[in-house]
């Protein structure tokens, strides 16, 4: 929200420099984002009245103007088309500087000297966003009656500082000049000035002859209406326009400007209707079955029976709290106006504005909550201003439908509790003083308890904790000492699962893998690329950001492939990646949340093959204390049918590993050979054993035997190893497949597997009598199962 410092100063006498003021406001809870001087550069621009316009003797497009500057007269040559005799304009005299820093001097225009130049809005450094193109491009024409010889810096408040404040959602009362002024007053401990409202003693209730108001919906707690006769619809006075401009609001005409002015000043949105266009003597606030309304911005909007409308009893004339209808708009012909100052429920306005896709200054204020008490004051403030600027005459009487006036809240504050809660020690008098600065009415009801009456506009204060914050922010958050927590000593630390997560990551990093971070979203389309059947346990979102993010991922594989694809496309020659992250799937049990399962995905491309990745996984498992994993051919459809395996330990499936299927390679634009392993974290953890236990070093020597086995190529090595293990008993210490051979001396369709077996007994030295029977047993089992031969 933009706040004009000059306007604020009309309520609080702020003497400290703007920067210090901004800091003080921030530290008391009104966060100041930026402080901007409207126009730093501009000097020596004054108002002048064009008294005579003559053609230029030597140039068709130029005119020669005589300008009355109040104290002297000067000649200005201009090409501007919108100036006329009698116009009051800003004149940059010689020696002036305009907004962009250009210096203005006396110039010769084809034989006629020009002693300065006329200025546009942009050259004055004012907010150009708020004006139409015609006004922007022409010379700024000032209202008749503007004094001559006035310094533009003062007249246009070019030295004003615009404060951009970020308000928190609970402080709807700060959405106005007086709201911020109250904060300034409390923060700086300065008095606050009031404002004038229409308070004439009226002798009649003339308004009743014109209008009555009925509220038929609880979403409107109060409706105040005042009627006025229009004297003339024209531009509002310059001082009013300048305040609107410095608040970021575009001046329109005297009536509309006053409604906006009061909204900015007090925070109460107002609306003015053209009485004759209402075509009715009543206003009824209700929902209707109408389907459409054309709003003030000339757009036809679809409405429905959930939206609160201001009606003339029949048709809607405004969307309550959002925007007026075109059918009752103020025009040049308007002779009577109805000034509405109403209160609408924040929820109702929020939903309506959202459904219409229409957020206005009014709706955004109502959405945050407006104090119902404000409506009456605001109507009278606007009436006062309309009379003061000569726009209207009053019609006596005021309509105020306010069925349910709420009493002021009272909250008790125990000073002892406060001090113990904050960790400071303030006296009851000090606390009382700070609350009073914030416009609370405070009464001491015991030696340590204050009864605090909350102003109606403080919708956010309900509990003693709320009051504690009020006191502390005025006392100063920076004044609270920092202490170290007392109480019980707590050990804290990581759980075994958390330690295991760290361990897995560190093992993979140690092997040269990079951890990735990918989004949790995927889509039907992205999943189709994985060559898989449509899953029926997915978690689709109701409101995703686009199709490609419409489902919560149930696998990490797709994202790993996307990482590879990106790196490949960026000409990174090889890569090794991993990610330990959640996957999501439907929970079949009713009334429970979806299942979140952590998975570990490892992938590589470029320099590696299947066995490199498998080796990394084997090391990972070994380091996790997982013994004898089995890699059994098989796995998901995204893997190469001849190069994929599922990994089991003691019958528990850990996951799968393999080369990416050529079809998937194409779908994901991958390098020809990529490898992926995906493991279930829970299964890994279940099978892991990170306890390190020392066993004595062997005292007796080991015996080694090499076995070369000749067997059919399609028999997996894992099956051979399983038989060797099964038939070796306790004395087998290790087994190492050191050669796989096909070629010369090996028949077609056969291979030779060479194993180094290591036998050891912990209590004695083994001899041939121990080992030979084992070897015989192994060989005969291999022969029986696979028709395998010992290769001599």
């Amino acid at each position: 929200m933009f706040v004009s410092l000059n306007w604020l100063k009309e309520f609080v006498d702020i003497k400290i420099p703007p920067y210090d003021f901004g800091e003080a406001l921030t530290m008391s809870g009104t966060k100041v984002e930026t402080l901007t001087v409207v126009s730093e550069n501009v000097v020596n621009i004054f108002t002048g009245k064009i008294t005579k316009i003559e053609p230029h003797p030597n140039a068709d497009k130029l005119i020669v103007c005589t300008v009355d500057m109040g104290t002297d007269e000067r000649v200005i040559v201009t090409a501007a088309k919108n100036v006329f005799e009698g116009a009051i304009v800003p004149v940059a005299v010689d020696g002036a500087v305009i907004a962009d820093g250009t210096k203005i001097g006396t110039n010769d225009f084809r034989g006629v000297l020009s002693y300065g130049m006329f200025c546009s809005i942009e050259e004055l450094g004012m907010n150009t966003d708020l004006f139409s193109k015609e006004i922007m491009e022409g010379i700024l024409i000032l209202p008749a009656g503007t004094p001559l010889g006035m310094d533009a810096r003062e007249l246009f408040w070019l030295n004003d500082v615009i404060i951009d404040v970020e308000l928190t959602a609970n402080r709807s009362d700060c959405q106005s000049i007086i709201g911020i002024a109250r904060e300034a007053s409390a923060t700086l401990d300065l008095p606050m000035a009031g404002f004038t409202i229409y308070a004439a003693t009226e002798s009649s209730n003339q308004i009743a002859d014109y209008l009555s108001v009925k509220i038929e919906d609880q979403a409107c707690p109060r409706y105040v209406a005042k009627m006025l006769k229009v004297k003339k619809i024209e531009a509002s006075p310059l001082w009013m326009q300048v305040k609107l401009l410095n608040s970021g609001v575009r001046p329109i005409n005297n009536i509309v400007d006053v409604t906006n002015y009061v909204m900015l000043e007090l925070g109460q949105p107002l609306h003015a209707f053209d009485y004759d266009s209402l075509q009715s003597q009543e206003i009824v606030v209700k929902t209707t079955t109408d389907k459409k309304i054309v709003t003030l911005d000339d757009k036809e909007r679809n409405i429905d029976e959930t939206m609160l409308m201001i009606t003339n009893g029949q048709a809607p004339v405004a969307v309550a709290g959002v925007m007026g209808g075109e059918n009752s708009e103020i025009t040049e012909k308007t002779s009577l106006i109805v000034l509405e100052a109403a209160n609408f429920n924040k929820g109702s306005v929020r939903l309506t504005a959202k459904q219409l896709g229409l957020r206005t200054e009014a709706s955004s204020r109502f959405e945050k909550g407006v104090d119902p008490e404000l409506a009456g004051i605001a109507a009278l403030r606007a009436t006062h201003l309309l009379l003061e600027i000569g726009a209207c005459e009053v019609i006596e009487g005021l309509i105020d439908v306010y069925p349910c006036v709420e009493a002021l809240k009272k909250v008790n504050l125990d000073v002892n509790w406060f001090n113990a809660f904050v960790g400071i020690s303030l006296t009851i008098a000090e606390i009382s003083k700070m609350l009073t600065r914030l416009f609370f009415t405070v009464e001491k009801i015991s030696d340590h308890v204050l009864e605090v009456e909350v102003p109606s506009y403080r919708l956010d204060i309900e509990l003693k904790e709320d009051l504690a914050e009020e006191v502390v922010r005025i006392f100063g958050y920076d004044m609270i000492p920092g202490t170290i927590m007392g109480g019980e000593t707590m050990v804290g630390g990581k759980t075994p699962v958390q330690k295991f997560q760290d361990a897995l990551k560190n093992i993979l990093v140690g092997q040269g893998y990079y951890e990735t971070l990918t989004s949790s979203f995927t889509s039907e389309k992205r999943l189709q690329g994985l060559n898989s059947q449509r899953e029926d346990n997915l978690i689709p979102l109701i409101n995703p950001l686009g199709e490609e993010n419409s489902i919560m991922r149930h696998t990490l594989v797709g994202h790993q492939l996307e990482v590879i694809s990106l790196n490949y496309s960026r000409k990174n020659p090889f890569g090794q990646f991993f990610e330990l992250s959640n996957t999501y799937r439907k929970n079949e049990k009713p009334g429970e949340l979806p299942i979140e399962e952590q998975k570990l995905a490892i992938s590589s491309y470029g320099s590696e093959d299947y066995f490199d990745l498998k080796g990394a996984v084997e090391l990972l498992l070994a380091q996790s204390g997982i013994k004898y994993p089995e890699f059994i051919a098989g796995g998901s459809d995204f893997l190469h049918p001849g190069r994929k395996a599922e990994i089991f330990v003691n019958g528990i499936k850990l996951g799968e590993i393999g080369e990416i299927h050529p079809v998937v390679v194409k779908n994901y634009e991958l390098p020809k050979r990529c490898y992926v392993c995906q493991l279930s974290f829970d299964a890994l953890f279940e099978c892991s054993s990170l306890d390190n236990k020392f066993t004595d070093l062997p005292k007796f020597p080991a015996s080694n035997r090499d076995l070369a086995i000749l067997l059919k190529s399609d028999i997996p090595a894992a099956a051979v190893e399983a038989i060797i293990r099964k038939n070796s008993g306790e004395i087998l210490e290790s087994i190492d497949l050191f050669d796989v051979y096909t070629g010369a001396q090996i028949p077609d369709g056969y291979k030779s597997l060479a194993y180094a077996l290591n036998f050891r007994h912990h209590e004695r030295t083994l001899n041939d009598n121990d080992i030979n029977p084992v070897i015989d047993q192994i060989l005969s089992e291999l022969k029986r199962s696979f028709d395998a031969q010992l290769r001599e």
Partner: protein
């Protein structure tokens, strides 16, 4: 006999001199000193000698044996020495050639940041709590005192799976679960993934990461909140770091604050990192709202506590001077490999 022995010795020494390789040295030993060696055979002829000659020749023979053995071992040493010299000559390498490549790897910078934060709080006696990312709306909003009509609940702000199940927009639901399941005193942090309906750009992402903390005990004060978070800031950014607490508003806490730290880049003078303010906003915090305590089954008259929350992605960006959030999620190796 004597002559014969001396000639034998001379032949042997000549043979030894001719030996050039260690492996042939043993041949000389066998030729003269072996079971069937010349000296052995010669000594067998000693039986023919007279009893006067026998001790003299015997002594000579022993002397000669000793001399030969000494010479063999001297020659062995010489040859070994030569062999090592030759090996060294042959094996010298260009030590300036590059070493063999070992693949590096490292954690994602976000993980590194999270680990650093975790360590600080673990050291202060905190535990790490976790909870579901797909969460009941009531845990994400209701128990956290978020008003029923608040816009954060809208479909424009929060991802919904079902009407009553959302992708959590903050890690605070974990705090609710901990408060409901455990008895105070509590000291936890909950880092994790959270979601909001923001299109991805340089500073926003629909998927991002937060870490929240919660302390509940008897007699916890706002001073404790300040002291704890000030200590945290000093541990994360260095001893010289100063903190500034500004009043703010959160539904979960009352009173609430935002904490700024002096810019670790410029030390508070003002630079690009801190937008010339000298300060960097780092976290939101406050005293746990009594409504929240009550909703979670903790008596606010008996217990008090504080909570804090920070955006991990933003801290990571700030810490490493990364200018675009999207880089974190892109996983280009040339990015990943920069963080050791």
């Amino acid at each position: 006999m004597e002559l014969e022995l001396k000639q034998l010795r001379d032949r042997c020494l000549t043979d030894l001199n001719d030996v050039e390789e260690l492996k042939t040295l043993d041949n000389v030993r066998i030729k003269y000193l072996g079971k069937k060696g010349e000296l052995t055979i010669a000594l067998k002829g000693m039986g023919k000698l007279s009893s006067e000659e026998r001790p003299i020749i015997g002594k000579l023979a022993n002397e000669i044996r000793e001399e030969i053995e000494n010479n063999i071992s001297a020659q062995k040493q010489l040859l070994e020495h030569k062999e090592i010299e030759a090996q060294i000559r042959e094996e010298s390498i260009d030590v300036s050639l590059p070493g063999k490549k070992h693949l590096a790897g490292n954690l994602h910078p976000l993980t590194t940041t999270v680990n650093e934060l975790k360590e600080i709080f673990l050291g202060m006696g905190f535990s790490i709590a976790e909870g579901p990312e797909i969460e009941w709306a009531k845990y994400n909003f209701d128990y956290l005192n978020v008003p029923q009509d608040h816009s954060a609940r809208d479909l424009q702000d929060t991802f919904y799976y079902q009407d009553d199940i959302v992708l959590r927009t903050q890690t605070s639901p974990v705090q609710v679960r901990v408060m409901q399941e455990q008895k105070p005193p509590l000291r936890i942090i909950s880092p994790g993934r959270v979601y909001r309906c923001d299109e991805i750009d340089a500073t926003h992402s629909p998927v991002f990461h937060q870490m929240e903390g919660l302390v509940i005990d008897k007699g916890i004060t706002m001073s404790d909140l300040k002291g704890t978070l000030d200590l945290f800031a000093k541990k994360l950014f260095g001893e010289q770091t100063k903190t500034k607490f500004r009043p703010h508003q959160f539904y979960f806490t009352e009173p609430s604050a935002e904490m700024d730290v002096t810019c670790f880049k410029c030390g508070g003078v003002g630079c690009k990192v801190c937008s010339n303010t000298g300060w960097i906003e780092i976290l939101g915090c406050g005293m746990v709202h009594p409504n929240v305590l009550r909703l979670c089954g903790i008596d606010p008259d008996e217990y008090s506590g504080f909570a804090f929350g920070m955006g991990l992605d933003r801290i990571t960006l700030t810490k490493y001077g990364i200018t675009d959030l999207r880089l974190l999620f892109e996983n280009d190796l040339r990015f990943l490999a920069q963080f050791k």
